[in-house]
Assembly symmetry: C2
Homo-oligomer: 726 residues x 2
C-alpha cells in the first residue's frame, strides 16, 4: 500500500459528468473507518479524532438544519415584504410588509387589520388619491413595473453568476443522488444566487413556488458542510447520504413538515437510503423546522404553512366528489406534464431558447397584466391557498364567506350550519373559475424558465381552486336539496354538513399527486401542512385516484420527464425492465456475427478487460497519471507491470511503472447469458459503473452504466444518443 | 422450453427452513408477467385475466385490511370483556364489559360512570356484601383464579394446536421477510389459535401487550389471501411483498397509527421494501384502521388508542428532564434485553424449557397475586397508560389529579395553573413506584413464554410510570420554587407550566425506543397514538438519547437478539461488516494449503460448479427429480446431458436425461480476491442464495448464504454452528 495510502488529488477521483461507483465508495469508506478504529487505540488524541469522526455525521446534520432553516426564514420574510412592495409601502418603516405594518399600528381594530393609515398604496402616496380610476391604473402600472424589475433581476443574476440556479433543481438532485457528478451544481455560488433569485422570482408574482428550489438550497447547504469533514468531502457515496438528508430538511422548511420531508426524500428524491440516513434525515428535518419556527416568519408561531381547523367530520357519501377531484388531479397532471415537456422541448430546439431573458420578461408581463384585475390571482399564491383551505368562521370577512345568515338563529362562533350562498360567493366563484384557467395555462409556460421555480404551490393552487368550487357546489346542493337521496342520510336541515375548505385541501393533494406522483409523502405532507390528522382517508382516496388516472397515461412524473428531456443518466428504480435481452446483446464490443456465440475465443479479450478493471477512476487515465506522478523515474518509455513484483531490469532501462496497486483484483462479472433484467437490477442495487461479461471464464466484453441506459432507451423506442454521459 | 413451462409442484420449489433466491423469484415473476402481457392481446378473456392480475395486488391489500381490522376489533372487544370478567359481571347482559354495562344503564351520572347497580363484583354477587375484608379476599381469590384459568387455556391451546402461535412473532416475521421459509408459521391454524390465545393471554393480566402478536395475526391474514392468487402463492418473493404490507396493517390496527405502521414495516420488519410496496402498505394500513374505527371498540369513535389534549406548550428547559428520561429508557432497554435473553437462554438449555405450562401458570399466579393489591397494576395496562398520559382536567376524579385547589381562584375548565399536590398524589406516587419495580421485573420473565406476548405495551407502561413520576416531581419543584433560576424564565406563579402527562408520553417513547431501537417509526407512532403533532421535539429528543445510550451497550434490539438466540439465518441490513477477509477465505472447498493461491488449477472445478448452478431448487435434487419425472424413458442408467442437443445414441441405450433446461446459465460469480464486505453487500442487496468464486475464469469454490452467516458469526466470536439452516 505504498502510494495509495494518500488520498488522490480531487481532480483524480471523478470528473465532471461522470458517474460514481457506489461499491467502491463504500469499500473506501470501510477502509477509512478501519484505519481510524485501529489508530484510535494508539493515543488519546487519535481516540478523540475517532470520536469526532463518529459524531461528524450528526454535526453536519445539525449545521444543515440550522442553515437551511435560517435561509428559509429569511426567504419567507423577504418574499413577504417584496410581494407587498409591488402594491404599496409602509410609511412608518419601509422594510415592513403590509401585515407587519398594520400590526405595529395600534389604531386599527382586528376586523380591518388590512387597512391602516401607515400602509399606503403607491397611487395614494404619489398623488394623494386612494380611490378612482386614475389611482387604479397607476397602481396597476406600478405593479407590472415592479414585477418586471424583479424578474429581470432574477433572470440576469442567474445568467451571469450561476446558470445552475435556475429551475426547481429536483430533477438534477435526483440525478446527482443516483451517483452522477455535476460540479458546481451544489456550489456556494449556486447557493447564494439561488437564494436571492428565488426571492425575486416569487415576489415578481409569477406562477411558481419556492418549495423545489428550497430543496436545492438545502442540498447546497449540505454540500457546503460536507467540505468541513474529509469523511464526506472525499467520498462521493457518503456525500450523497448527507445530501439525501439535506433534501429532507429542504421540504421540512418549505412546508413545516419534517416527517413529510423525510418521506419525500425517501420516496421521491433519494436513490440509496440506508436506515442510518433515515434517522439522520429526520434529525436534520427537525432542526430545520425548529429553526424556522424560532424565526417565525408567518407570525403565528406555528410550524405549519396552512393551519386549518374544521369543525365537522366528513361523510362517506363525500368520497364521490373527493374521487372526482382525484380524477381531475390525474388529468391535470397528465396534461401539465405533456404540455410542459412539449414547450420545454421547443425551447431547447428552436430559437426560443436563445432569449431566456426576453422570455422571462414576456411571461412576467403577461402574468402581471392578467393577474392584477382578479383579486385571487393578484395576491401571493400561498395566501390564496390559505384562504381556499379555510373554513368560513363567524368572523371571516372574505368574499368567499359571504353567506346569507338566518337572522332567527343565534350564531355560535364555531358551528355554523350550511347556509345559502350570497352574491359575494357567486362573484367569487366566477373569479375563481377565471383564476383556475389562468393558472393552468400560465404555469405550463412558467415552469422550466431560467429562473428558480417550484411546482408545488402552483399545482396546489390549481387543485385548491377546483376543490373549493366543487365544495361550494356540493354545499349549495346539499342545502337546497336536503331531500335528495344522496344527502338524506347525513345532512339534515340546519346542520353543518359540507366544509368547502376540505374539498380545496383534497383537490390540492390530487393535483400535486398527479404532477409529482408522490404517494405516502404527499399525504403526510398534506396533513402536516394543515394539521388535520382526521382527514387521511379523503386525502388518500384523492391521491390514489389521481395516481391511477395519471399513471394510465404515462408512468413518469414531472421530475422523471425533465430528467429524460435533459438526458441525464438516471437509472430509475421504479421502471421495470421487462425485455428478454441478454447481457451479450448489450456488451461492447458487440458481437457482430452469430459465429462468436459458439467460439468466444475470437473476442478481443484482455485489452478491454484491463482498461475496464482499473479501480481508481472513471477512466484509467487519471489513475495512471497519478500513479506515474507518485513513482520516481518513470518516463514515456517505461515498461508497465501489473504483477506483484516487477522483475529486475538492467540498470540502463528506465524505472518501470508498477500498476498493481490500482488494478481492481475483483471486477464484477456476469456471464453472457445473464438476462438484462438481472443486469439492470445489479446495476441499480449495487450502483455499479461497469461490469465484465464472461463466458466459461473467458472475457467477452464489458457493460457500462451508459450501455445499460442506452439499451433501456432503445428498448423504449427513444433516441439512445440523447443520454448525457461521459 | 418444454417441461419448464408448467410450474413446478409446490414441494419442488423451496423446502422448509430453506432460504429463497430473490433474484430468481424476481425473474420468474417477470417471465410470468411477460407471458400474461403477450397473451392479453390474444382474446378478450385473456385481457380480462391480465387486468385481474394487475389489480390482484390491490385486492389482496383490501382483503388484508378488512380482515385484520375486523380481527383487531374483535380482539379488543373480547379483551375488554374478559379483563372485566376477572372482577365481576354485568347483570343486565353478561357479555357486556364494565364500561358498556354502565353506559347502557341510564341511572348513572357522568361522574361515577364506573359505579352502576348492574355491574356487580363477584363477592357482591355471591355473598351480597360489596364491602369488607371478606369480600376483598373473595374478589382477590377469584381474580387469581380467572387469571390462572385464562393463561392455562392459552398455553394449552398453543401447545396442542399451534406451537408457532407463541411469542410476539416479530423476530420470526423479520426472518421470513428476509427470505427464510418456515412452513406453517403463517398458516390458518396459527391465525386462529393466535387470535384466541392472544385474547386469553392479555385478559389473564400478564405483563404483555397485543401489538406484536397483532402483527403476526395480520401477516397470517396476508398469507391466507396470498393463496387466492397464484401470482403471490407461487412466488415467494412476491408473497413477501404482501407480508410486508400486512405487517404495516398489523401495527396500524394495534395503535390506530397507519403511517406509523408503514414506517414500522419499513424500518423494523421488512427486508426488501420497494416503493410499490410502500404505497400498497399504506393502503392496507389505512383500510385496516378504517375497519377498526367502524367497529369502534374503544367507544370514542377515534382511531387513536390514547388520545390526549394538552393545553400548554413545552419549554426549552424541559428538554433536560426529557433527555434524562431518554437515558432511563436506554438503560432500561439494555437491562431488559440482557436479562430477558439470559432468562430465555436458560429456558432453552435447562429443565425449565420442558415445563412451559407450569411456567406460564407460575408467572400468572405471581403476577395476579402481586398485581391485585395495587390499583395501578390491577387494571389493564393500556388503561394505566391512558391515565398516565392524561392531563389533569377540572373534571378528573383520578387519584393522580388530587391537587389542592386555590379556593380564591375561579376554575376555568381547561387552563388550570400548577397546584400543590394533595395526599392522593403522594399516595399515587408510592403506588406508581411499586408498580414500576413490579413491571420491570415481571416483564423480563413474561416475554418469551409459550403464549402470545407483545412487548410494546409493557415497555410503554414502564416508561409512562417513570415519566409521570418525573413529571410530577418537576411540577412540584416548579410550584414550590418559582424563584429558582431554572424556572424563573418560563414559570410564573399561577401559570400552568408543567404537564406531567407529557412526561409520561416522552418516557413511554424512550423505553419503547430503548427496547426496540425504532426511531422514526417510534416517533410517528407516538404522535399518531396521542394526536399530538406539537410534541415531536420532546419525543424526538428522548428517542435519540435512548437509542444512543442503548446502542452504547450493544447494537441489537430485542428482536435481533431473539433472532440470534434462536439461530435464525438473518442477514441484518444494519450490521456493518468491517473485517478484511476475502471471498477466498470463506468459500468451500476451503483452500487447505497456501499453495492453491498460486496454482488455482488444482481446485476441484466443475463438479462443485455444476451442482451449484442448478437454478430451480435449493439443492439440485428436487429439480432433477422433477426433470426426470417429466422425461419419458429415463432410468437409473440414463446418460445425463447438459448440452443443448443430446447426441444420437444407439437405440439400445435408455433415453438420456436432458438437464439443459434446469441449468442456470448465468450463475453469479465473484473473484477470489473480492473483499468479504463486498460479498456480504451483494448477498444482502441482491438476496442471493449462493455465489461462485472464480479466479482468472476458473472455478475455485462456492459461497452460500449459510457460509456468509457462519463467517459473520465467527468474526463476531459467536458459535457459527448455532445458525439454523438447511
Amino acid at each position: 500500500m505504498d502510494f495509495l495510502d494518500e488520498p488522490f488529488p480531487d481532480v483524480g477521483t471523478y470528473e465532471d459528468f461522470h458517474t460514481i461507483d457506489w461499491l467502491r465508495e463504500k469499500s473506501r469508506d470501510t477502509d477509512r473507518h478501519r484505519k481510524i478504529t485501529s489508530k484510535s487505540k494508539e493515543s488519546f488524541w487519535e481516540l478523540f479524532k475517532s470520536l469526532l469522526d463518529a459524531w461528524s455525521g450528526w454535526v453536519v446534520m445539525l449545521l444543515i438544519g440550522l442553515l437551511s432553516g435560517t435561509l428559509a426564514g429569511v426567504i419567507d420574510l423577504a418574499v413577504d415584504w417584496m410581494t407587498d412592495l409591488k402594491e404599496g409601502v409602509c410609511l412608518s418603516a419601509f422594510w415592513y410588509s403590509h401585515e407587519q405594518c398594520c400590526w405595529t399600528s395600534n389604531e386599527t381594530t382586528f376586523d380591518d387589520r388590512d387597512k391602516c393609515p401607515q400602509w399606503q398604496k403607491w397611487a395614494e402616496l404619489m398623488t394623494g388619491h386612494a380611490e378612482g380610476a386614475g389611482a387604479y391604473v397607476l397602481n396597476y402600472f406600478l405593479y407590472i413595473l415592479w414585477a418586471l424589475l424583479f424578474s429581470f433581476l432574477a433572470v440576469s443574476l442567474v445568467r451571469v453568476f450561476a446558470p445552475y440556479a435556475c429551475g426547481s433543481g429536483i430533477p438534477e438532485i435526483k440525478t446527482i443522488l443516483s451517483g452522477f457528478i455535476i460540479r458546481g451544481y451544489l456550489g456556494k455560488w449556486t447557493l447564494l444566487i439561488k437564494t436571492v433569485t428565488l426571492v425575486l422570482a416569487v415576489s415578481s408574482g409569477l406562477s411558481l413556488g419556492k418549495e423545489g428550489p428550497l430543496v436545492h438550497v438545502a442540498c447546497c447547504c449540505g454540500n457546503l458542510f460536507c467540505s468541513l469533514f474529509s469523511k464526506y468531502s472525499k467520498n462521493e457515496g457518503k456525500r450523497r447520504e448527507v445530501l439525501s438528508a439535506a433534501a429532507a430538511a429542504g421540504v421540512s422548511v418549505a412546508f413545516g413538515a419534517p416527517i413529510g420531508g423525510v418521506l419525500f426524500s425517501l420516496e421521491e428524491v433519494s436513490y440509496y437510503f440506508p436506515l442510518k440516513t433515515l434517522w439522520r434525515s429526520f434529525f436534520a428535518a427537525l432542526v430545520a423546522a425548529f429553526t424556522l419556527r424560532s424565526i417565525n416568519p408567518f407570525g403565528n408561531s406555528r410550524l405549519v404553512l396552512f393551519y386549518v381547523e374544521y369543525h365537522t367530520p366528513w361523510y362517506m357519501a363525500e368520497l364521490v366528489p373527493f374521487i372526482l377531484l382525484g380524477v381531475f388531479g390525474g388529468l391535470w397532471g397528465t396534461l401539465f406534464i405533456r404540455a410542459n415537456i412539449a414547450w420545454c422541448r421547443r425551447r431547447k430546439t428552436t430559437q426560443l431558447g436563445k432569449y431566456p431573458v426576453l422570455e422571462v420578461i414576456a411571461v412576467t408581463g403577461i402574468t402581471a397584466v392578467l393577474a392584477y384585475p382578479n383579486p385571487y390571482t393578484r395576491r401571493s399564491t400561498s395566501e390564496l391557498i390559505s384562504e381556499l383551505f379555510n373554513d368560513c368562521g363567524a368572523l371571516e370577512s372574505s368574499q368567499l364567506c359571504d353567506y346569507i345568515n338566518n337572522p332567527n338563529m343565534s350564531r355560535p362562533v364555531d358551528d355554523i350550519p350550511d347556509r345559502p350562498a350570497g352574491p359575494g360567493v357567486y362573484n367569487a366563484l366566477w373569479q375563481l373559475a377565471l383564476a383556475l384557467v389562468f393558472k393552468i395555462v400560465i404555469t405550463i409556460f412558467t415552469f422550466g424558465m431560467k429562473i428558480p421555480s417550484g411546482l408545488f404551490i402552483p399545482s396546489m393552487a390549481v387543485g385548491a381552486i377546483a376543490g373549493r368550487i366543487v365544495g361550494i357546489a356540493v354545499e349549495q346542493m346539499a342545502y337546497h336539496h336536503h331531500d335528495w337521496i344522496i344527502f338524506k342520510n347525513w345532512c339534515r336541515p340546519g346542520a353543518d354538513c359540507v366544509t368547502p375548505g376540505l374539498y380545496a385541501m383534497v383537490g390540492a393533494a390530487a393535483c400535486l399527486g398527479g404532477v409529482t406522483r408522490m404517494t405516502v409523502s404527499l399525504v403526510v405532507i398534506m396533513f402536516e401542512l394543515t394539521g388535520g390528522l382526521e382527514y387521511i382517508v379523503p386525502l388518500m382516496a384523492a391521491a390514489v385516484t389521481s395516481k391511477w388516472v395519471a399513471d394510465a397515461f404515462g408512468k413518469e412524473g414531472i421530475y422523471e420527464s425533465h430528467i429524460q428531456l435533459n438526458g441525464y443518466p438516471y437509472l430509475d428504480i421504479r421502471d421495470e425492465f421487462t425485455h428478454r435481452t441478454l447481457a451479450t446483446d448489450v456488451m461492447r464490443p458487440r458481437r457482430t456475427t452469430p459465429l462468436w456465440r459458439s467460439s468466444p475465443r475470437t473476442a478481443p479479450r484482455w485489452r478491454t478487460g484491463l482498461s475496464a478493471s482499473f479501480s481508481a477512476g472513471t477512466s484509467p487515465s487519471p489513475s495512471v497519471k497519478n500513479a506515474r506522478q507518485k513513482q520516481d523515474g518513470v518516463v514515456s518509455s517505461s515498461v508497465v507491470y501489473f504483477t506483484e513484483d516487477a522483475p529486475q531490469l538492467p540498470a540502463t532501462n528506465p524505472q518501470p511503472l508498477k500498476l498493481r496497486r490500482i488494478l481492481n483484483l475483483s471486477p464484477f462479472t456476469v456471464t453472457d447469458h445473464t438476462p438484462m433484467e438481472t443486469v439492470v437490477d445489479i446495476f441499480r442495487k449495487l450502483g455499479l459503473r461497469q461490469c465484465l461479461v464472461t463466458r466459461s471464464g473467458r472475457l467477452l466484453g464489458i457493460i457500462t452504466k451508459k450501455d445499460v441506459l442506452r439499451h433501456m432507451a432503445q428498448m423504449m423506442n427513444q433516441d439512445p444518443e440523447s443520454i448525457m454521459f461521459n
